[in-house]
Amino acid sequence: MDSKTLRYIAKRIVMAIVTLWAVITVTFFVMKAVPGDPFASEKAVTPAARAALEAKYGLDKPLMEQYKNYLVGALHFDFGPSLKVRGREVTAIILDGMRTSAKLGIIALLIATVTGIVLGSIAALRRNTIFDKFIMVITTAFVSMPSFIMGSLLLILFAIKLKWLPANGAQPGGLILPVITLSLYPMSYITRLTRSSMLDVLGQDYIRTAKAKGVSERNVIMKHALKNSLIPVITYFGPELAYIVTGSLVVEQIFAVPGIGRYFVSSITGRDYPLIMGTTIVLASLIVIMNLVSDIMYKVVDPRINLE
């Protein structure tokens, strides 16, 4: 890696920190501006109890002071205690959920990527054959079918009718169905991306040149075509990884997977301020990092790309 690239990466890291700070700030103030509070429930707590709770969690302090305290804490990776689950730290809740969500997401994305690239390449190489058309039909269906429908169908078939796999993510083998559900969309997307990009590449002059030089079909595809046709896939891969490892609320809900996905919604409905911040920061960081990784990967795959 040359110094230019390193300079670029350094610049991007600074940008990433600024982006994160902006995300934290906007989320913090928007969150506080939303009506409602973490101690609200159908049955009212007494004013004294509410005051005690607010004091305990520092919610009685001026907003700017709360903001400052939060930033200082976050710099030390201290995201504070959950306001809803008394006695649990936000960090522990997120790590707990991420362990499952990340496992689920990474496996799903690996399957999706490998299968997607293979199927996409084959479809491109066998363009307009029955095989190509079949893949295109199936992937169109998977891309357009929402995960809650796919998940429910798989659940009914494999967990209720056939009873081959558990319906609950907490049981042994319980992650198989959610992994499949989660991987179908990115797999189909990657298949289609690879196919069109591969077709594009196969029409390029350098491929014709390689073939004319007598390079074997296998080498043309593996060395020249595939590598270049993966550039769009890399663009897609980064952000998708960020989304998928932070959990799919829908899939986790359908299969009762103990991931982090649910907290993105429940923390907001419960006004669990530290948890809202925590989940937002995790997702934002992952997206920022993955985008950076994607960009660097471009450079690795295609040295012609000028990062500056």
């Binding site: 009506p35 007494t46 659940l155 103990p258 991931g259």
Partner: protein, 613 residues
């Protein structure tokens, strides 16, 4: 315990919940098998292989610290993990309170100074799950902790009957461990539901050194309890595992060795796990599957009693008189009360429970729920209103036959205040009103029905939904005209539903005695027939309703309390600000392989004496 936070959260998301007080309609498996508990217990414990059961009540509990929990599913776990002075038991078809850690539950001694002392002796050999001795001091500590303002427990207020309780935490409650095995609690009144409170998690013991670690209730290694079970595993958001506690004094009677509480709030997922046999009990079912499930699983599908009312409430400070109305002050309030009562007659509650709710709910003609009983064993709601004079129970007739007469009566009443176009059968100058509800398919369907019923007479009601937390905020602040509401009781006494309407109550969503309404002298109450010198004519809400509730709270004679509470409900219902729709029921599904299960109307489920075939 109420469906506080969590269950209501679920409801907010459109999950069906509770239900009606139909122990009868229950036909619950618990009901038919409960009687065999004792025998099954003795045999099962020795002979058979270890028994285990997997159930799913809800998602991860926010808290299973007995003092801090405020959800029904959390309470169910806690009654397995902890033992208080008293506990719930099933005796034939009835649910009774029995001594648990206490040897007996004696009557209080009148101290002659307006206080009463309850003295309890603890059983011999009580131990914590880590082997340490459990003493009366643990109870004293736990009760003082639970009632303190510093802890900020949702249910701290239940200690309000105990001497020394103060809302602001300025004083400590009068609970004393006289010696290692004797506990004294001093109350300011003879509390009719006192024994029941002792079986409520907020009154359970915790140990000082255990709870000193704030995270104690989030991990099995630090979760030291004293009940029939100990927590042996907690895979967060997945499953909480509890196993029989050999240190529990009555361990021999416990037949179920291991209970796995799976944590999920997705009704469809619960059903899938129930249908494929993984879970033996699920506490929720998908709303749109109810009809089909009733058919497919007539034995497994259970509708049990639950004490609570689903209702609509009006904000008394919002004007609904026609634009040109010259009425002011008391006259205007009386007119609004009459209008609100009339509107309550336009709704077909049978349609709501049969076509929308579909869960065996019972049309309500009063606010205090079905399931709350009087000292003579009769239902409080059956004695509401003036059945002898009216020919129906409650404050209006909810039978299907009365639909037309109710409608006509409502229209006649409304004609006094609004312009009625005889040709179209519509009122032309009723101001447009907004109906506020929290986002959920179920609440929406009911809101749509209510709006359509009003549209028939030309009243436009717009629906406005808000996300749960915002909704709570808006409703409490009184920033609405009409809102969806619901209440589940914490203990078996009507006061738990009536005292929420006193002026300074945090749950007074109707805004009685607040804002402009504080000075409206439109109410009368007469308790002289019961021997009290409370008689007010044309008084404010504080002079009348607050005063009668204060009398209830200081009265030890339960029959007189009931009479006072009927007067309070009469007054409440005369405002028309509460429009009850139905009494809740609790739906769950239980496998036919489970014997010995029971649940009580407060919603707690008991697996102690179950066996799985």
């Amino acid at each position: 315990m109420s469906n506080l936070t969590r269950r209501d959260m679920l409801r907010a998301f459109g999950v069906v919940s509770a239900t009606s007080m139909l122990a009868a309609c229950g036909g619950s498996n618990g009901g038919s098998n409960g009687g065999d508990n004792a025998d099954g217990a003795a045999d099962g414990g020795e002979a058979a292989a270890a028994q285990s059961i997997a159930v799913c009540l809800s998602s991860e509990p926010d808290n299973i610290d007995p003092a801090l929990n405020s959800a029904v599913d959390g309470a169910t776990m806690i009654v397995h993990l902890f033992a208080g002075l008293a506990k719930w038991e099933k005796d034939g078809e009835a649910f009774v309170i029995a001594p648990d850690c206490a040897t007996e539950l004696p009557e209080p001694v009148d101290n002659g100074d307006g206080t009463y002392t309850y003295t309890y002796t603890l059983r011999d050999g009580l131990k914590w799950s880590d082997g340490q001795d459990l003493t009366a001091a643990d109870f004293e500590f736990a009760m003082k902790r639970a009632s303190s303002a510093d802890l900020g427990a949702d249910y701290g207020y239940l200690y309000e009957v105990v001497d020394g309780y103060s809302e602001d935490g300025s004083s400590e409650i009068n609970v004393t461990a006289v010696d290692e095995k004797t506990l004294q609690i001093v109350t300011t009144v003879v509390v009719p539901y006192w024994d029941e409170l002792l079986a409520f998690p907020t009154f359970f013991p915790v140990r000082e050194d255990v709870v000193a670690n704030e995270a104690w209730a989030t991990d099995p290694s630090t979760y030291i309890s004293n009940g029939a079970y100990t927590m042996t595993g907690w895979d967060h958001n997945s499953v909480i595992t509890v196993e029989k506690n050999p240190n529990y004094y009555d361990a021999d009677a416990i037949t179920m060795d291991k209970i796995e509480f799976y944590l999920s709030d997705d009704a469809n997922n619960m059903l899938a796990n129930f249908e494929n046999g993984t879970w033996q009990l699920i506490d929720d079912v998908p709303t749109n599957e109810i009809a089909a499930l009733k058919e497919k699983y007539p034995e497994e599908f259970v509708v049990a009693g639950q004490i609570g009312t689903y209702y609509v409430n009006w904000n008394v400070n919002k004007n609904i008189l026609p634009a040109g109305s010259t009425l002011t002050g008391v006259e205007a309030e009386n007119a609004r009360a009459e209008i609100r009562r009339a509107i309550g007659l336009l709704f077909d509650r049978n349609y709501i429970v049969e076509e929308i709710g579909q869960a065996g709910q019972v049309p309500a003609s009063s606010f205090v729920s079905m399931g709350l009983t009087e000292p003579d064993g009769s239902e409080f709601y059956e004695n509401a209103g003036d059945a002898a004079a009216n020919g129906y129970v409650g404050y209006y007739d909810v039978s299907a036959d009365a639909l037309e007469s109710n409608f006509n009566q409502a229209v006649e009443t409304l004609k006094k205040y609004y312009t009625f176009d005889e040709a179209t059968g519509m009122f032309t100058d009723f101001p447009t009103i907004d109906y506020l509800y929290n986002t959920s398919e179920g609440h929406k369907a009911i809101g749509e029905y209510l709006a359509s019923a009003l549209a028939q007479v030309g009243i436009t009601m717009n629906l406005e939904n808000q996300e749960w937390n915002t909704f709570l905020n808006t409703r409490k602040a009184g920033d609405y005209t009409v809102a969806r509401n619901g209440w589940l009781c914490d203990y078996n006494d009507p006061i738990s539903m009536l005292d929420m309407w006193v002026s300074n109550s945090g749950n007074n969503d109707c805004q009685f005695g607040k804002g402009d309404h504080a000075s409206v002298a439109a109410y009368s109450i007469d308790c002289t027939d019961l021997g009290y010198d409370l008689k007010v004519e044309n008084g404010t809400w504080a002079d009348t309703f607050d005063a009668v509730i204060a009398l209830v709270k200081s009265e030890g004679d339960n029959s007189k309390r009931m009479a006072l509470m009927h007067k309070a409900e009469d007054l409440l219902m005369s405002t028309g600000a509460i429009c009850p729709l139905y009494f809740y029921t609790d739906l769950y599904m239980i496998s036919q392989s489970v014997q010995g299960f029971f649940s009580i109307p407060l919603g707690y489920k008991f697996f102690h004496y179950t066996t799985v075939a």
